[in-house]
């Protein structure tokens, strides 16, 4: 059984989603537990696979027994093992957390919502584990189309925001497909390892150049890398808050993973960094992404919308760190990928808690939040510290590697952008905390903190948020082990 783990990771959520769709018609109450079981199986399988890969090296799985390059192959090394585990656990935590909020807002569409969520996770897991370029496109579109539908379930502006996401997302995926087409014309294969082997002999080809650029642009559209980010703020802000908790932490990070995978393991580091000569341009775009994201975040008056701009900044960090082209920068980018999944998860789940109890999360509506919802706000503080980069939360450690990489590459623009955005992060979050802390309530005499204004979210929503907040510190303290065990084996030896 365990040798089929790579396939099970995708198949179990897929079948579970169909089951949930059916149950949505027949017996709604079973949707949640069935999905929970499916995700639990997926999460434990991913964890098991990661541990196996850390110990014994990469695992290759041939779907249907067909040999590569004719068949589709699933390959797991520590990089996508890490992403798989992060995606699965993030989805599992969000699933548990979403119980009360979905019951309140989507009771009539339970089957559809949960089924789509499960399909979304299937798409992400499949994208991460596959070793075939076209299979990646298929699973990418599975994830994207379900995301379009999920986002559109929100009120008011959600449908238009989702439609804009449809346009830009489809363009991005089509660019990716076009790039794969060019590669297929030149090499005749779609298997990633095979492509890598054949591309080493084709470095001078104009078609490969174009393929590289088109594929990158497509992926940047999908991950909302400046200046192709226009769809993200509206889409994630207007999505229903249970959905934001699922999509926001995962979609863009998995796309960053795909970019890294294609650059390192299809085109190869030699081609991507030396032959193409794109690093300067990409680095400046990354600097712009970080700076513009920070400035635009400062202009926001709503917590959820502000967080969507923070996502843009984080994507800028990861892309910039990767394209620095040295070991520290790449370590920073990969570590940040892992850390950012959980930082964003904690942030959006905490905001979800706030939206469950409060009428909205624009700043004035957050007055007195610290006394009303101390646990949620506490978790939000932990997340804020992580986003700013305060030890011992995980955000500090990935930022350290990014800064070190910038210093080593002497890219002072990126260094300045990193420091600038950290300082802006302090302002962003402490503005929110000021609103939440400095309430106009009268001071009560000798008050016990459990005053009658206490209206925290239900336990099912608070405990996961607190767990993830604690996890941010745990991830931070274990940075050394994560880097040496998971990240370092993946970075090619050509980078000193």
């Amino acid at each position: 059984m365990t040798e089929h783990l790579p396939a099970l990771i995708v198949v179990v959520p897929l079948l579970t989603s169909f089951l949930i769709f059916a149950l949505g018609w027949l017996k709604k109450d079973l949707c949640f537990p069935v999905g929970l079981f499916g995700l639990a199986v997926a999460a434990s399988s991913c964890m098991g696979l990661l541990l196996r890969v850390m110990r014994w090296g990469p695992v290759t799985y041939k779907l249907g027994g067909w040999e590569a390059p004719w068949g589709i192959v699933y390959v797991v090394d520590t990089l996508n093992g890490m992403v798989l585990a992060a995606v699965a656990f993030s989805a599992l935590i969000q699933w548990i957390w979403s119980g009360p909020s979905v019951k309140r807002h989507f009771q009539d569409r339970l089957g559809a919502l949960y089924g789509l969520q499960m399909l979304f996770v299937t798409g992400l897991l499949g994208m991460t584990v596959t070793g075939d370029a076209f299979n990646l496109y298929v699973l990418l579109e599975i994830a994207s189309i379900t995301a379009y539908a999920l986002i559109a379930m929100g009120p008011e502006r959600a449908s238009l925001s989702s439609l804009n996401y449809v346009f830009m997302g489809t363009l991005g995926a089509c660019f990716y497909l076009l790039g794969v087409g060019y590669l297929y014309i030149m090499t005749g294969t779609l298997n990633m390892a095979d492509l890598a082997r054949l591309i080493t002999g084709l470095h001078g080809s104009r078609a490969i150049q174009v393929a590289f650029i088109i594929t990158m642009v497509g992926l940047w559209l999908k991950m909302a890398f400046f200046p192709l980010h226009g769809w993200l703020p509206n889409a994630y802000t207007h999505a229903p808050y249970p959905i934001s908790g699922l999509i926001a932490p995962l979609m863009t990070k998995v796309m960053v993973y795909v970019m890294i995978r294609i650059d390192l393991n299809v085109f190869g580091p030699v081609y991507s960094f030396e032959k193409m000569g794109l690093e300067k341009a990409v680095m400046w775009l990354a600097v712009l992404a970080v700076i513009m994201g920070s400035i635009m975040a400062l202009a926001q008056k709503d917590l959820k919308r502000m967080l969507t701009y923070v996502i843009l900044i984080e994507v800028g960090y990861m892309v910039g760190g990767f394209w620095l082209g040295n070991k520290s920068g790449m370590t920073g980018a990969l570590l940040h990928l892992l850390n950012d999944v959980f930082m964003t998860l904690c942030a959006f789940l905490a905001v979800g808690n706030l939206l469950y109890r409060l009428p909205g999360c624009s700043f004035p509506e957050l007055k007195g939040a610290f006394s009303k919802m101390p646990f949620t706000m506490g978790a939000l503080v932990a997340t804020a510290l992580s986003i700013v980069g305060v030890p011992p939360t995980c955000g500090f450690f990935s930022k350290w590697y990014l800064l070190l990489g910038a210093l080593e590459a002497e890219h002072y623009g990126f260094l300045a952008a990193l420091i600038f955005s950290s300082l802006v992060g302090v302002v962003l979050f402490f503005r929110v905390f000021e609103w939440a802390f400095f309430s106009t309530q009268e001071h009560e005499e000798g008050e016990h903190h459990l005053s009658h204004t206490f209206q925290e979210a239900p336990v099912q929503m608070v405990v996961p948020v607190l767990l993830v907040a604690g996890g941010l510190v745990v991830l931070g303290v274990f940075s050394g082990e994560i880097v040496s065990g998971i990240v370092e084996p993946v970075i090619p030896l050509t980078f000193s």
Binding site: A152, L163, L171
Partner: protein, 130 residues
């Protein structure tokens, strides 16, 4: 002049798909009406599908279907048949394009129900006012 004409005529399939792609892209970006944008997006996707299909063509080759006799006695000569792999891939891509089209149209219906119009500038006006 001769060379340019030679270039266009020999690679006519690529020129067709590039033109279609640009038309589609222009539709998505420049048009105001949501349905026209959706049409543009669909044209864009179709252009790519055509590109893939055309890349399998071979001179003097026939459709990739083996008749009874051949399969039994000898291995087929690959050069006589068009490459079937792109066709297979594009079946999937067509499904994806159709699903995307379906979702986009459903969203357009939802938008129309809410705002009463499909022109993007009018919708943005309404949003700005509320």
């Amino acid at each position: 002049m001769e060379d340019a004409l030679q270039l266009i005529i020999s690679k006519y399939n690529y020129w067709i798909y590039i033109t279609l792609m640009m038309i589609g892209l222009w539709g998505v970006i420049a048009k105001n009406n949501l349905v026209k944008k959706i049409v543009g997006m669909s044209i864009f996707q179709t252009a790519i599908i055509l590109f893939f299909v055309s890349m399998g063509m071979k001179k003097g080759a026939t459709i990739p279907i083996l008749l009874h006799g051949h399969a039994a006695h000898s291995s087929p000569h690959a050069a006589e048949y068009i490459n079937p792999l792109p066709h297979v891939l594009m079946l999937t891509a067509i499904v994806v394009a159709v699903s995307t089209l379906g979702v986009a149209l459903a969203l357009a219906v939802k938008v129309y129900r809410r705002y009463g119009t499909l022109e993007e500038d009018e919708i943005l006006e309404q949003i700005r006012k509320s």
